[in-house]
């Protein structure tokens, strides 16, 4: 059963203006309402509701193929939902208002504008192989944020120092280890200073001995920044360390969500129990 305390969401009931309801504390940084995503007959997101508060760190766990990566991909506009609403920092991502009220599908220009709030780190790094580390980091800040070369390079230097990659600034991705590549990828996304960062199984493609260096960068980001973070991961110990909330996801729906201490120690749902049992035994 999906736990939902909020009022039932029928598509028509969503107010276009999106005024934050005053009784609920700070307005959510991420809001998903009734989001449906299908691949053919397969329903990957089944009327998903998920709110994430500013600066909150949410870890999404669940069996593979359960659609948890799709949540991140919808927020990054890599997959377009068939139904429902997504808001980032209070603004509709896939819709825009026409004549003050009616919501219409957004044009690319609007999507790009709202998308500035979010960036994503991938399982397979997706660094630009034909560019040096420096160029990987400075391309988007220069082209998208309009930074000049020296500003962008200074920002890059700061991040590379912080992530222990200062000597790799002129290296090409092919010469880096997996752990170094992923740290560069995290730095590249951080260069944009997004309010929301999405991490899609960022340690899954790494050799076991390289996982630690990437987790320590993530830990640093989680504790020292006000960034809202959504992470899909299989690293349960790490999740319990940094998450404010853990969301158990299966078959397109949220099965259970709770602070890590609670969900790991005493899961309520049998499916959560079974999943944690399988994962933690393997650890």
């Amino acid at each position: 059963m999906a736990t939902s305390e909020s009022e039932p969401t029928s598509a028509g009931a969503v107010p276009a203006g999106g005024a934050p309801s005053p009784e609920e504390g700070p307005a959510p940084m991420v809001q998903m309402e009734g989001v449906v995503k299908r691949f053919g007959d397969n329903v990957v997101l089944d009327r998903l509701d998920l709110d994430v508060a500013p600066a909150e760190k949410v870890v999404i766990i669940g069996p593979s193929g359960s659609g948890k990566t799709t949540i991140l991909r919808v927020l990054m506009t890599l997959e377009r939902p068939e139904e429902g609403y997504v808001k980032l920092d209070g603004r509709h991502l896939y819709h825009e208002e026409r004549s003050g009220e009616r919501l219409v599908p957004a044009r690319l220009r609007h999507i790009r504008d709202v998308r500035r709030n979010v960036s994503m780190v991938f399982q397979h790094f997706n660094l630009f192989p034909h560019k040096t580390v420096r160029e990987n980091l400075t391309l988007a800040p220069r082209k998208v944020l309009g930074l000049d070369r020296s500003e962008a390079e200074e920002r890059a230097k700061g991040l590379l120092d912080q992530y222990g990659l200062a000597d790799k600034v002129d290296a090409y991705p092919a010469s880096l280890s997996g752990g170094q590549k992923q740290r560069v990828a995290i730095a590249r996304a951080s260069m944009m200073r997004p309010k929301i960062m999405l991490f899609d199984e960022v340690t899954s493609a790494l050799d076991p001995e390289l996982v630690g260096e990437v987790l320590s960068v993530l830990r640093d980001l989680a504790t020292h920044t006000e960034m809202t973070m959504l992470l899909v991961t299989h690293e349960m110990r790490f999740a319990s360390e940094i998450a404010d909330r853990v969301v158990m996801f299966d078959e397109g729906r949220i099965v259970e969500e709770a602070p890590p201490a609670q969900i790991f120690a005493d899961p309520e749902e049998p499916r959560t129990k079974a999943f944690l049992h399988a994962v933690i035994d393997r650890d």
Binding site: S119, F122, F125, N126, P129, K143, Y172, A174
Partner: protein, 248 residues
């Protein structure tokens, strides 16, 4: 063996000699004319291939458009041009197009009369653009989907994504194919002689018509083709090595 004094464009000929008797002096004598012709052929090839490389890239990008009304007609036109002979296309551009009355649109002349060179450049350029566009398309498709996704995650514009992320990775993989089209277009360029454009083949034919000797001009023309194609192919191999890069 009898020898007569060679005169300009007159072979040292004995009427009893068969046409296959090779005459070095005559070959040497006609060489400058044939080199001039070859030079015209090279110019046509290079200009046409520049057109083909630029237009082919545009066609390949249009065929990836999100809009079906853009994608579909471009795909159909490419298939049509690839399925009809270059010779017919050249004939059409030079002899048929000028006889057609164009629609009455501002800026458009009533009839479009192309010079032989322009018609040949358009014919060869568009024909080969359709081939290069397929190569570009394969090159673009060889770029990992994750690269497009990273570009989205960094909120790059479509223009920056193409220019800074996708094309720099796609084009090195296309260079060998483009190089092969360079050599193929060079060998097709003499077809332009049917629309009266001077080239190495026209030179050879004129020499034969004047001298009644075909062995030397066509052999020398063939050797000149080799003398250009082989270095061109080596140059393409060099480009492959130079602009290839290690993938992640």
């Amino acid at each position: 063996m009898l020898t007569t004094l060679p005169s300009v464009a007159q072979p040292t000929e004995d009427t009893t000699q068969g046409p296959s008797d090779w005459d070095w002096d005559f070959a040497r004598e006609i060489l400058p004319d044939l080199i001039d012709g070859m030079w015209a052929t090279i110019q046509l090839t290079v200009v046409s291939l520049v057109v083909a490389m630029l237009l082919g890239l545009v066609l390949a990008m249009l065929r990836r458009s999100r809009l079906r009304p853009v994608r579909w007609p471009v795909g159909a036109a490419v298939e049509f041009i690839r399925s009809t002979p270059l010779l017919v296309q050249l004939y059409f551009l030079y002899f048929v197009l000028p006889t057609a009355t164009l629609p009455d649109l501002p800026g458009l002349p009533e009839r479009l009369v192309l010079s032989a060179f322009d018609a040949a450049v358009i014919g060869l350029g568009v024909h080969y653009a359709c081939y290069t566009s397929e190569s570009y398309r394969a090159g673009i498709e060889s770029v990992d989907r994750g690269q497009w996704e990273a570009a989205t995650a960094l909120n790059l514009s479509a223009a920056t994504t193409w220019r800074s992320v996708v094309l720099p990775q796609a084009i090195p993989t296309v260079i060998p194919a483009l190089g092969n089209y360079l050599v193929a277009a060079f060998k097709d360029a003499p077809l332009a002689s049917v629309i009266t454009l001077a080239g190495v083949l026209t030179s050879a034919r004129e020499i034969r018509a004047d001298s009644f000797r075909g062995v030397e001009p066509f052999t020398v023309a063939g050797v000149l083709f080799l003398a250009v194609s082989i270095p061109a192919a080596m140059f393409v191999r060099y480009l492959e090595r130079r602009y290839g890069y290690k993938r992640e």
